[in-house]
Amino acid sequence: MDKENQQKRDIILHIRRFDPERDESPHLEQYTVKVEPGMTILDGLHQIKQNQDSTLSWRFSCRMGVCGSCAMLVSGRPMLACNTQILDITDRALTLAPLPNFDIIRDLVPDLTRLFEDHVAIQPYIQGQDAEEMENPTGEFFQTPHELEKYLQFSYCIKCGCCMTACPTMATDREYLGPMALAQAYRYNTDSRDRGYESRKSVIGASHSTFNCHYAGECSNVCPKGVDPARAIQLMKRDLVLDYLKLKKRKKACRVMGIPSDVERKPSIPFPPYTVEQK
């Protein structure tokens, strides 16, 4: 017991709070949490909500760096609360604030409507060469490992918004599409199965878009998934320039691998037996 307590430390969390019903603007409030090694910021927030202040609000879901909902500003840097251990960044105090560049709904909860609208705007889905094949597939699209590598890195994005918070263009330009959406546009454009470049072009080639990025590189610095949106955006600039100069290579047709007829399909995994008796 003593040993356990020895490992615990008192850490002060300054949390930026805002209640739309009472406050005109956000203010800082101070909480002290008992932190043991391995505890994440998300754990700290739960501790406060459980023991000190049940009105504290924040967003989270998966608590393992997959869903992207718990992004917040940790001592001035956007991070995932569930993916960051408190003792890794401080042994005294830290500040938590909602992601800037988004409106605050309440406490640490930003309004991410903009993020999702931007994502929708770049048509984030495969637009196949053959509409009929997309609707009623007769087999699988063929893709080489090399073709996969071209976009795989950018497909790890979890739409957390950290990059949009760090981007200096985002901070001043209300209409800028932002690193997340632009990187996703590139992800789909480079997919060998996709033929959507022409219809995305009106969005990614417009103003407040690809060419408003000036490579400050902050998006790639803060991305918790190593997505490197800055790289995707610069590569997309090259595509747009080459396309303008009529030098862009045409994509090769994407083959469909029909289901082989001379083999037998493995039986599906059988449904597991019920653990509770059925009535």
Binding site: P20, P26, D103, I104, Y156, A166, A171, Y215, N221, A230
Partner: protein, 147 residues
């Protein structure tokens, strides 16, 4: 808007644009690039204006040239050299990057993540060294050769 409640506008604006803090070096270069660009542009406008004073004849031209010999303008000139050298060489770096030449290919993200920032860093170092060289040469010329 997803709900009707009052929300707080949390856009960082100009502070977010200028704000350094815990950012990487490319972020600072981004700001200096802009400031240097505006500085050099203002110099060009003033320079054209000053050069055109000639049309008013020697009564105006000569006193203005006298003022220009003041040490303040020497220091100003040094700043122009610094601004110009930095803006030009960093600009070349940005052109190369934005044409997708210095950012490398997509790669599997393995923690601790490396990004295109790491890929372009040798280029950045070379360009900054060249800029320093240019500034030193320009400064030497200005201070000791008096051009």
């Amino acid at each position: 808007m997803s709900n009707n409640e009052k929300m707080y506008d949390n856009r960082l604006g100009i502070i977010g644009w200028l704000g350094g803090g815990r950012w990487g070096i490319e972020r600072y270069l981004y700001i200096i690039h802009r400031l240097a660009g505006v500085g050099v542009l203002i110099f060009f406008i003033l320079h054209i204006f000053e050069g055109n004073l000639r049309i008013f004849g020697p009564e105006i031209w000569n006193p203005v040239m006298k003022v220009m010999e003041h040490p303040v303008f020497k220091v100003g000139e040094l700043f122009i050299i610094i601004g110009f050298a930095f803006h030009a060489l960093n600009g070349i770096r940005l052109i190369l990057i934005e044409l997708g030449w210095a950012v490398g290919k997509a790669e599997e993200p393995v923690y601790p993540y490396k990004s295109s920032l790491n890929t372009q860093r040798p280029l950045m170092v070379i360009m900054l060294l060249l800029a320093i060289l240019l500034i030193a040469a320009g400064g030497f010329d200005l201070m000791f050769l008096g051009h």
